[in-house]
């Protein structure tokens, strides 16, 4: 996965034993404290979140704490100031601190390497060495979350909070701290200042979403990862059809992994009485790339849309501006994922996919639910979905490859005469599981997540389905894989 280096210590993944002990303890304490005692509940959330994060590396708690204090103070200062230049200075301090941390930890080595390569290209030597930097888990997520606060306060969309504990809870809220969804201050922060009630239906819904998220991660992502890794790591040994299958496996790995994490995060938040934003809306059922990007990693896409694309002028300007802004947003989005040229090219490729739709004003054609009210898609819809999935999968090759050369070589091997040869690897059990997963998602696509509307089933059947998912999870628990997006 790129050259991004990451060292994780002892981990508390959502699918780890540690977390299965941690969560019930925090849940019990939280509701024992009582809904009336908001401050104590918020304090418990901060404490639990710091324990959760500290489980990886307690040293980086200082970054979260520092970031929280800086943005809390800047928020209050912005409220007191009316002078535009002073307010802008405050905003830039916040942006510099947050992006400074991000830049140092995530991009320092990348830029040094790239600079050195450029000098070497022109025949000169640049003697700057890279640093052995450990990337703090989730830094890209909480940095963007806290930045949204100062930007919204600056734009007077949000009143700054005076409750430091509530603000710290907002920045460090453990369900979504390390891999999102990236919450907007306007959505999440006010929830820390209102009474949270335990609602049975929400809690059940939360548990169900956690279950579905775990299924996606453990059964789909981890099992697809096994084959994706095997094929990507030895791509010269396989024929084109197998490599295409390997790319499909990665497509399902990354979707199962990341959307699974988001489902678990949203489900856990529901248990605590919080509503997080939806992060995935069945992206592989998209009919074009524009629809895909409205359904994939929604919290990041909308973040970039609101805080980068629109301030740059969005699609309101002339042709040049539209093209420029599209490339900027996609390339920055690629770079956000990691300090590697593979991510940048992945972003650029998606911009190329997206541009024709934007320029022909067809980027908002497919905004409704696909095959609404029907069990099956039409032939046109099915072929549109398949084409979009294929294009996305080709782009994923860059995302997954270790280097640009690796990705190009992988694609060259796919698009060779051996594309029509027999598969050299064909794990039928895993493919059946992927089919089961896709059918469940298809049937549940009108809900926020696949099982949201399962209530129509008779209770014993519903419970049997849950037990089936649990059995599948235990039966197909492979080698535990780290969540991919933790490194971003």
């Amino acid at each position: 996965m790129g050259n991004t280096s990451i060292e994780l210590c002892t981990n508390m993944f959502f699918n780890s034993i540690e977390f299965f002990i941690f969560l019930p303890i925090v849940f019990s304490l939280y509701w024992l404290i009582g809904a009336k005692n908001i401050k104590s509940q918020n304090f418990l959330i901060v404490l639990a979140s710091y324990v959760f994060y500290g489980w990886w590396d307690w040293r980086f708690l200082s970054l979260i704490l520092f970031s929280s204090i800086v943005d809390y103070s800047i928020g209050l200062a912005l409220d007191k100031q009316n002078k535009s230049s002073y307010r802008k200075t405050l905003l830039w301090i916040s942006i510099s601190v947050n992006l400074g941390f991000l830049g140092f930890f995530k991009y320092y080595n990348f830029f040094i390497d790239s600079l050195r390569d450029s000098f070497t290209f022109f025949g000169a030597d640049l003697n700057i060495s890279t640093l052995n930097i450990i990337l703090p888990v989730g830094i890209s997520f909480y940095t963007f979350q806290t930045l949204s606060y100062t930007i919204d306060v600056f734009n007077k969309k949000l009143k700054p909070t005076k409750d430091i504990v509530g603000f710290m809870a907002f920045v460090s809220f453990f369900p979504q701290l390390v891999a999102g969804p990236i919450e907007r201050a306007t959505n999440l922060l006010p929830q820390f200042s209102i009474e949270r009630k335990f609602v049975y239906r929400d809690a059940v819904n939360g548990l169900r979403q956690i279950l579905w998220g775990l299924f996606k991660k453990i059964v789909i992502a981890d099992n697809c990862a096994k084959y994706a890794n095997l094929i990507f790591n030895n791509h010269t040994d396989y024929n084109g059809s197998t490599l295409l299958l390997g790319a499909f496996f990665f497509a399902f790995q990354i979707y199962g992994d990341f959307s699974g994490y988001s489902d678990i995060a949203i489900g856990i938040s529901r248990l605590f009485g919080f509503n997080l934003k939806r992060n995935f809306a069945y992206p592989y059922f998209s009919r074009d790339i524009a629809e895909f990007w409205r359904r994939w990693h929604i919290s990041l896409s909308t973040w970039f849309r609101d805080y980068l694309y629109i301030p740059l002028g969005g699609s309101k300007g002339g042709l040049k501006m539209k093209i420029r802004n599209t490339f900027i947003i996609f390339i920055v989005s690629g770079l956000w994922h990691g300090a590697n040229w593979t991510f940048i090219i992945w972003g650029a490729l998606n911009a190329f996919y997206f541009l024709p739709l934007l320029l022909t004003n067809r980027n908002r054609v497919n905004t409704d639910l696909i095959a609404q009210g029907n069990y099956f898609p039409s032939l046109k819809e099915a072929s549109q979905m398949f084409l979009t999935f294929l294009l996305t999968t080709i782009a994923w090759v860059f995302f997954r490859a270790d280097s640009v050369g690796h990705a190009i070589s992988y694609l060259q091997h796919i698009f060779s005469s051996s594309l029509f040869f027999k598969f050299e690897i064909f794990p039928s059990t895993i493919l059946i599981l992927v089919m089961f997963f896709l059918i469940t998602e298809w049937l549940g696509r009108s809900g926020n997540y696949a099982l949201e509307k399962i209530d129509f089933l008779f209770k014993p059947l519903r419970w049997a389905f849950y037990i089936l998912l649990i059995i599948l999870m235990f039966s197909f628990t492979g080698e535990e894989q780290q969540f991919i997006y933790f490194q971003f």
Binding site: F198, I471, F474
Partner: protein, 310 residues
């Protein structure tokens, strides 16, 4: 909240029952035979048990003597094989047991296995003392470095295996470790499944290492004196004339040399061939590994120990 907790408990109980049924039906976990200690203080299995290995691919059985595997038709021309989990061999079907393969290779002889996972060298010798009453031609004692070191209580004290205190020269018989808890764990298959699938790692990593501060010595160099006491004890207390010590391929050369220097009969297994003898996920021998072991033993018996087997 009350309704939520009650529903979770009910769901949990139903899932437990359902899970237990599924684990039993699919043999998701191996059946584990129950252990006992006989009147001679030997830890073995309750006789006449059967069970499935994980996945249900084959069944294991405990014979009426309390050892895994089938008994020979006769005790005439008997060669006994004593050892640990490698000889116990629950992970392979009976056609891959040493006794079965050796019987095919050397049909004139009968083979008896007496093995239990975790036995130490001294415990193997205790077992062989009782097999001697069957008047075997020879007893092959499978052993390795860890079986030897684990025989010495001063190196690593263990209550569940038989060890020798080299300071006092006293044999300390192994006791059954948490038999009640194990009975619950092995009977409640789902619990055992979870126990195997998600082992609790309670090891506390200490950053302090005394080895870093001293000159690194091999385990043999550290414990040479105690091993010598152990071997002297063995020579004094057991009849070694008809015993052959079969060393696992990874055994330390210094240990093997010490056995040889004392004039003990040895066979050293050699796995330095292209094909692996072991499972990918387990250090135990596969059926192929057992075939290679049996083949090397047969050749060594014919070449080096004709006086014992004729």
């Amino acid at each position: 909240m009350k309704k939520f907790i009650i529903n979770i408990i009910i769901f949990f109980l139903i899932a437990l029952v359902f899970g237990e049924v599924v684990v039993r039906m699919t043999h998701a976990t191996s059946d584990i035979p129950r252990r006992t200690i006989d009147k001679f203080g030997i830890q073995k299995y309750y006789p006449n048990q059967t069970g499935y290995w994980q996945g249900g691919s084959h069944q294991w059985m405990i014979n009426k003597l309390g050892w895994p595997g089938q008994l020979p038709n006769s005790y005439d021309n008997l060669i006994a094989i004593v050892g640990d989990s490698f000889i116990e061999n629950f992970m392979n079907p009976s056609a891959c047991h040493q006794s079965f393969i050796l019987k095919k290779e050397m049909p004139a002889y009968n083979f008896l296995e007496a093995a239990r996972s975790g036995v130490t060298l001294i415990e193997s010798l205790e077992i062989s003392k009782h097999i001697d009453t069957l008047n075997p031609k020879t007893i092959l004692i499978h052993t390795g470095s860890s079986d030897i070191y684990e025989s010495i209580s001063e190196i690593k004290y263990q209550t569940d295996v038989t060890q020798l205190s080299t300071d006092d020269k006293v044999l300390q018989r192994g006791k059954l470790k948490s038999p009640g808890l194990k009975k619950v764990l092995y009977s409640w298959k789902l619990l055992y499944y979870f126990y195997n699938r998600f082992p609790l790692n309670l090891t506390i990593n200490s950053t302090k290492s005394t080895e870093n501060r001293t000159i690194v010595r091999s385990k043999f160099e550290i414990h040479e004196t105690r091993v010598r006491i152990l071997l002297d004890y063995i020579k004094d207390h057991y009849n070694l004339d008809n015993k052959i010590f079969v060393f696992k391929p990874s055994s330390e050369k210094d240990l093997v040399d010490m056995f040889k220097s004392l004039g003990l009969n040895t066979i050293i297994l050699d796995s330095s061939e292209e094909s692996s003898w072991t499972f990918d996920y387990d250090s135990h021998w596969t059926c192929y590994g057992h075939e290679r072991v049996a083949n090397q033993i047969k050749l060594a018996l014919i070449r080096d120990f004709p006086n014992l087997i004729n």
